[in-house]
């Protein structure tokens, strides 16, 4: 039982962590080398990694996809360690009104900005690409670029203020929910359980003494032996 619980806890932690890693904004220092548009047919495997058609357009099974080809500074371990240069391809799609909640409607404008900052000759012009998502080659999925702005220098390291705020809000919300649940249990569930539990208690007083509150409450639903 304890192993199952531990397994479930680790699985939940992993799923939430991966989800947040996918959805949270990240900033890359990159140099736009070209922009292009390819026609894309989505498969059942990679459909969930793409957004929908542009906010004002109709959804069709196949459509054009805007791509921004870049060379970026490789980063590892949440951007703390810098590597060399590597190629990275970003898609550029409207996220629309639903998911993830970036409310991005300006893909065309972003494509124009990216095209305007194409830099293929020295000295290079570096930009900060804010994006979310993953590049997984065997699924043909790309991170979605959200904004492009000029970087002060090649070695500039943007600080993730927005992520900090989002995490603070998430943790605060979680603690609030926990406080709400504790209050509900203490004021509503436990008095009820105590009333029901009284009849049960004198049958197995010493056992229920050792059980926690919730399991005692659960115990009231079990058949009496």
């Amino acid at each position: 039982m304890r192993n199952i619980r531990r397994f479930l806890r680790i699985a939940l932690f992993l799923i939430v962590g991966l989800f947040l890693h996918y959805v949270m904004p990240q900033q890359d220092i990159a140099r736009v080398t070209s922009t292009e548009i390819i026609r894309t047919d989505f498969s059942t495997f990679n459909r969930m990694f793409y957004a929908q058609a542009d906010a004002g357009a109709a959804e069709n099974p196949t459509r054009d996809l805007r791509l921004i080809n870049t060379e970026r500074k490789a980063t590892y371990f949440f951007g703390l360690i810098r590597g060399g240069n590597e190629t990275m391809v970003f898609r550029n799609e409207d996220t629309g009104w639903i998911y993830p909640p970036y409310f991005k409607f300006d893909s065309s404008d972003l494509q124009a900005e990216a095209a305007a900052s194409i830099s293929t000759a020295q000295p290079y012009e570096w930009v900060i690409v804010r994006h979310y998502g993953w590049r997984i080659r065997f699924l043909s999925i790309y991170p979605n670029a959200v904004s492009v702005r000029p970087a002060p220098s090649e070695d500039y390291r943007p600080f993730p203020w927005i992520n900090l705020v989002i995490f603070a809000v998430l943790i605060g919300g979680l603690l609030f929910l926990r406080a709400m649940w504790a209050q509900f249990r203490e004021r509503t569930v436990d008095p009820l359980a105590d009333r029901v539990g009284d009849q049960y208690d004198h049958v197995s007083a010493d056992i229920s003494e050792r059980k926690g509150r919730v399991s005692r409450w659960l115990g009231t639903w079990r058949k009496k032996k």
């Binding site: 409607f105 300006d106 209050q183």
Partner: protein, 86 residues
């Protein structure tokens, strides 16, 4: 169409949140009143009267009205995001 979906689902979720917070806030207030009574009972008043009076004060107070912010803050956040992203 997406926008309608966001509004409808958002409204449902926020309503659930609003109801939960309303109950939570009321429960916290009642507990506080109970504790205050245990600490220093008021002369010439029963415990139930004391709590009923405190709760009536809460029901008409500002704190309860502030819970409406649950409906106001998310649209403001969404508006801010839309402004900065686009």
């Amino acid at each position: 169409m997406q926008f309608v979906r966001l509004v409808v689902f958002g409204f449902v979720i926020l309503t659930v949140l609003y109801v939960c917070i309303t109950y939570y806030s009321r429960s916290v207030r009642r507990e506080k009143l109970e504790n205050r009574w245990e600490d220093s009972p008021v002369e010439g008043m029963t415990r139930d009267d004391y709590i009923a009076k405190g709760m009536a004060k809460y029901e008409s107070g500002l704190r309860k009205k502030l819970i409406v912010l649950v409906y106001i803050i998310p649209p403001i956040i969404i508006g801010t995001i839309i402004y900065f992203i686009n």
